[in-house]
């Protein structure tokens, strides 16, 4: 039996798998773009304040204080 039909079969199978992957990707893109930001939880100005104060301002003050 020649190898050509088996190679063709494998190529067809890989192509089909790739097409399914791309279809899945398109579906996910559509689903995620349809979401509102509120569906993924908000990150408000108050959150920014806490993060900046806790991660930047207070550490910077501590670094300056202990510089000696």
């Amino acid at each position: 039996m020649s190898h050509a039909p088996r190679a063709d079969l494998e190529a067809t199978s890989e192509q089909a798998a790739r097409e399914r992957l791309i279809e899945d990707l398109e579906r996910r893109i559509d689903a995620l773009e349809a979401l509102d930001d509120s569906d993924l939880g908000g990150f408000t100005a108050l959150d920014w304040f806490f993060c900046v104060a806790g991660s930047v301002v207070i550490p910077a003050i501590a670094l300056w204080w202990f510089a000696g």
Partner: protein, 489 residues
Amino acid sequence: MGAEGFDPGANSSNSPGQEDSAFGRLPLLIEEREYGTASAHTTCFAYAIATWCFLTGGFVAELVDAVQGTVCLIAGNMIGIFITTMALGLGCQRYGIEQMDCCTPAFGQRGVKIPLLFYLINMLGWSGLLLVMFGNGIHNILGTLGYPTGEWAVGLGVAVGLALTLLIVTHGVRWLSVSNSIITPGLGILIVFMFYTLVHDYGWERISAAAPLAPGPKPLTNYVIAIELGVASGISWWGGVGFLARNTRSARNAVYPEIIQLGFFGSVACCIGLFSALVVQTNDPTQWMVPLGGVFMGILALVFVALANVTSTAVSVFASGLAMRHVKLFRATPWWQLMLLMIIPCIPFVFWPAQLFRMGDMFLAYNGTMYAPISGILFADYFFLRKQKINLRALFEADPSGEYYYHRGFNWLALGSLLLGQFLYIFLYNPYSGKIHPLAQYAPASVASCVIASVAYGVSMRLLNRRATAAAQASAGGSGRRRLISPNI
């Protein structure tokens, strides 16, 4: 860094599409994301408590004492985590994408390979250092048991560690999940035990009085470099931040666990390493265990740390392999071949373990050189240029008509800003020579590099790339129903 809490064996019983989404590049839908608030915090805690904390603490112990070292590690790490987390975390969470895809709007379809290269250097560099720790651990265990060996044993240990890593990542990914679930809490117990021993046997007075291991002649210079190592330590989590954030269901869960666990508790673990290095007077973590815990506990701790190092290395190598799927050449490469390819850059650690280990603090600082400007560019791109709206379809569009194709796949403005940030970093602090510019005492090199790269990118894109600015504003409404022409997946 940033992969020890990774659970590669999870979801393996799901359908192929779901498995692809978990471990490939497909965007994760909300229902597929694993982490709620509690699990995000515990996973980040598992990430944070890792043996590289010991290495970082040891590097800082060379420069400053316990008080200044604690401040540099905690404050520096918090700043570094903030720089890394905000744009990457919120962007990856909003769209369910991994970190390389989050870089594509800024760097372009082909330009994103530059951050990818940095990511690989980061992962494989840390892997090499951890494997040297593994080799040192074996060397010290044998010495403690009365079988002293030479440096050749360390190199042999690295080789054994590489072989074990390859075995795990090619055959037993499930083993990784199981070992993670044992090793992570065990490391937590070890750190608590070390802290107790330090306080009980040595006391804070002795710890705070211990001299740094090899400081330079100028105290302020030592302090500034120690700050830089702390910031770089936080920035080094770049590789893990996106992975976690992608798997969270809310924006707050993409940010607070990382800041609190990776930023604060991770740096506390580094401080344990700092104190241990100062009292034992060596920055090799495998030499702390016996003096701190006695022979029996010390050997047990060494064995445990050795296992943890191999596990961490396996996860880093696994994650590197996943990242390589971004490169078209490797998309269809058999997994075992890809893993072998990832192991090859670690081979120099077999032959020159001590020499390369001594460059560990330089490597840590170099992480700042790599990721600080990238983080600044992402910040400007995601928050100011795109107002937190990414064209998700364009991320996966390799056709030149795609919004993120730019000029031949590269956004030269981003790459130029990246280079500018790196030059500024080296100008302020050269990790290789240890030379610090006087200006660095006013702003750590990482912070300056991040800010300048961010400003340069933001201003140049506004002024010179009006097409991108207009497209970003148009994308605010979504990508429309246009189908992908040339998917890059």
